[in-house]
Amino acid sequence: MEAIIVENISKNYKDIQALKEVSFQVKEGEIFGLIGPDGAGKSTLFRILTTLLLPDSGKGFVAGHPIVEEFKSIRKKVGYMPGKFSLYQDLSVEENLSFFATIFGTTIEENYDLIKDIYEQIEPFKKRLAGKLSGGMKQKLALCCALIHKPEVLFLDEPTTGVDVVSRQEFWEMLAVLKQKGISILVSTPYMEEAILCDRIALILNGEILNIDTPNQMIQNFDKTIYAIKCNRLYDLIHYLRTQDYTESCLPFGENLHLVTKEKVEIEKLKKEIITQGFEQVEIEKITPTIEDVFLHLGQEKKEDAN
């Protein structure tokens, strides 16, 4: 049985279309990532699936229950961590946790084994008010609260946004452990590099799904060749390459630029050309694309289609 089924769900806010016929399925015990920037429609989709919003059209099932008709059954079976830090800032760590345990009809002790690994990290601060915790610790507490009633499906809306790299890494390690325990997880993130940590991902932009696959498969299916180029004046080189006929796109990627060409080019020839333009320390390498390359490319295609 699928943990989540989404079929052609659309949602409009006044004249803005937040979701356009979105469909995907999340298998049981899978970490499914929804990858896209702010305003892509991720939070709207989360709210629809957690029964907080009604879709304008389309169908959805969570843990086997239709999202509109059987919303009460769903509410018993899901854990939800909303986008902003949604705990009571003026309650202590312990008070927050025990409050959420109670409203879900359970106690901390009853499901302690599930949250033990995570809770132990924040336990030394259990008397501290939640508002006084650091970003990483708040995030751990929120996860504990979402897990306290042993949900079948976990919805995590941008859990790592605004959190530093270390805490982000730890958070993904915790998710891997939860997956081992059989919990299905739908997680959204604006960080492309986190895509690789999911079993399967959907790339989403402007309310539309661009692609769904495992991260590796998605990279393999990307049929363009990408050259990573380094030189002493990267910014000027980007401007130069954009004027060339063979260039499909040229974007900065950290210390490199990534060049996608319309047809295959010879590396040596390209290098010579660049050097004759007065650039120094030129290095060119053919690389495997990243999820970000895929996202950028599919996003641009969509935009061109729209125009």
Partner: protein, 370 residues
């Protein structure tokens, strides 16, 4: 299970309240401050208030009355006036609080048991003092008659006609106390309740509560109950302060009074939850409760301006405000000492309002967002 959840809510809400200094201040600081401010505005020190006399009679009995008034600790004789145009002299230079005008042939009429008109002029710009002082005079004149005529009861022979100069509409301290109780209970019950739910919307915690298997009714009750209790405590606090600071009596049944307070608190709470159900942010909730509740409650309930002197349309508006009915009840029970046989009607209206607002809250409180 249900009770456990309910208590978890109540406990949580008490944490919020006790950890937020602003809420605490509104809850307990405001009522005390308001009542005490009235304590300053309305001086209760009525010793040696200066009283002027215009004695048209100039006979023995009239001087005996003046002496009697002077011998009470409350008054001291200011000046003796001789002509009508001097009446306002003492008010204008601020030396006297009252003027008593004794008619001609006072002695004769008094012993012949003819009706007598004594006129009391008071400074209406200080209305609260004026009303209290007039009451003192009335009781002194009453006992004067009893003593002189050797009769057990107040014969009501002397009619005291009071003229309030400068403030003919008469706003009295007794008006203010019930009004203050009504207003403060409204602010605490309605505004704080609407703020607390709006706050959960702002912080996003409402999303988690809604996604939980809790019924909306339980969420509302759990949030409202602590405020109901605290408002009720406030009501008692104000009554006690009112009694000791202003000597505002509770002439009727205390139990009935407390019961009515409870009903009014519940009315306000249902309005508060209705406001919060339609407000998205705390600021939004605050504006709605200020404009939609506080202003009309203050202006149109008869708290400050008497309803009877308002245009018809405002009178109608005044009568859809719960505060109007509650002030009516309070005045009835506290000042006139009436019972359920009189206050049943406003009480009934409050009941109807509770049902009405509960219905609308129910309709507006969504189990979903938007």
């Amino acid at each position: 299970m249900k009770w456990k959840v309910f208590w978890a809510f109540v406990k949580k809400e008490f944490y919020h309240i006790t950890r937020d200094k602003r809420t605490l201040l509104i809850l307990f600081g405001m009522p005390i401050a308001q009542v005490l401010i009235f304590g300053f505005v309305i001086s209760t020190d009525f010793k040696n208030a200066s009283i002027d006399f215009l004695n048209h009679a100039n006979d023995e009995t009239s001087f005996e009355l003046i002496e009697q008034i002077q011998s009470s600790e409350n008054f001291k004789i200011g000046r003796i006036l001789y002509a009508d145009h001097e009446l306002e002299k003492g008010f204008k230079d601020g030396t006297s609080k009252l003027v008593m005008v004794i008619p001609e042939d006072f002695s004769k009429d008094f012993y012949n048991r003819n009706p007598i008109e004594i006129q009391i002029l008071t400074d209406g710009s200080d209305p609260n003092n004026a009303v209290t002082l007039t009451q003192y005079i009335t009781s002194i004149v009453g006992s004067f008659q009893q003593q002189k005529l050797k009769i057990p009861e107040n014969p009501q022979q002397i009619n005291i006609e009071t003229k309030l100069l400068y403030n003919p509409k008469s706003i009295s301290a007794y008006n203010f106390i019930p009004g203050t109780i009504a207003l403060i209970l409204m602010i605490i019950s309605a505004m704080l309740t609407s703020l607390t739910i709006a706050r959960e919307k702002e912080t996003g915690t409402i999303e988690i509560l809604l996604v939980s298997p809790l019924s909306p009714l339980l969420i509302i009750l759990g949030k409202v109950a602590p405020y109901a209790l605290l408002s009720f405590i406030d009501a008692i606090l104000i009554l006690v302060l009112g009694f000791f600071v202003f000597e505002v009596p509770v002439r009727g049944s205390l139990i009935l009074l407390l019961f009515c307070c409870l009903i009014y608190v519940i009315t306000s709470l249902t309005i508060g939850t209705l406001i919060s159900a339609v407000s998205k942010t705390q600021q939004d909730a605050m504006m709605r409760s200020l404009m939609g509740l506080m202003m009309p409650s203050m202006i149109l309930s008869g708290f400050i301006f008497p309803l009877t002197s308002m245009p018809f349309i405002l009178q109608v508006l005044g009568h859809i405000i719960p505060t109007t009915y509650f002030i009516e009840i309070l005045k009835g029970i506290m000042l006139r000492g009436v019972g359920l046989e009189i206050v049943w009607f406003p009480l009934f209206v409050l009941f109807l309002m509770i049902l009405f607002f509960l219905f609308f809250t129910w309709k507006n409180f969504k189990t979903r967002l938007q």
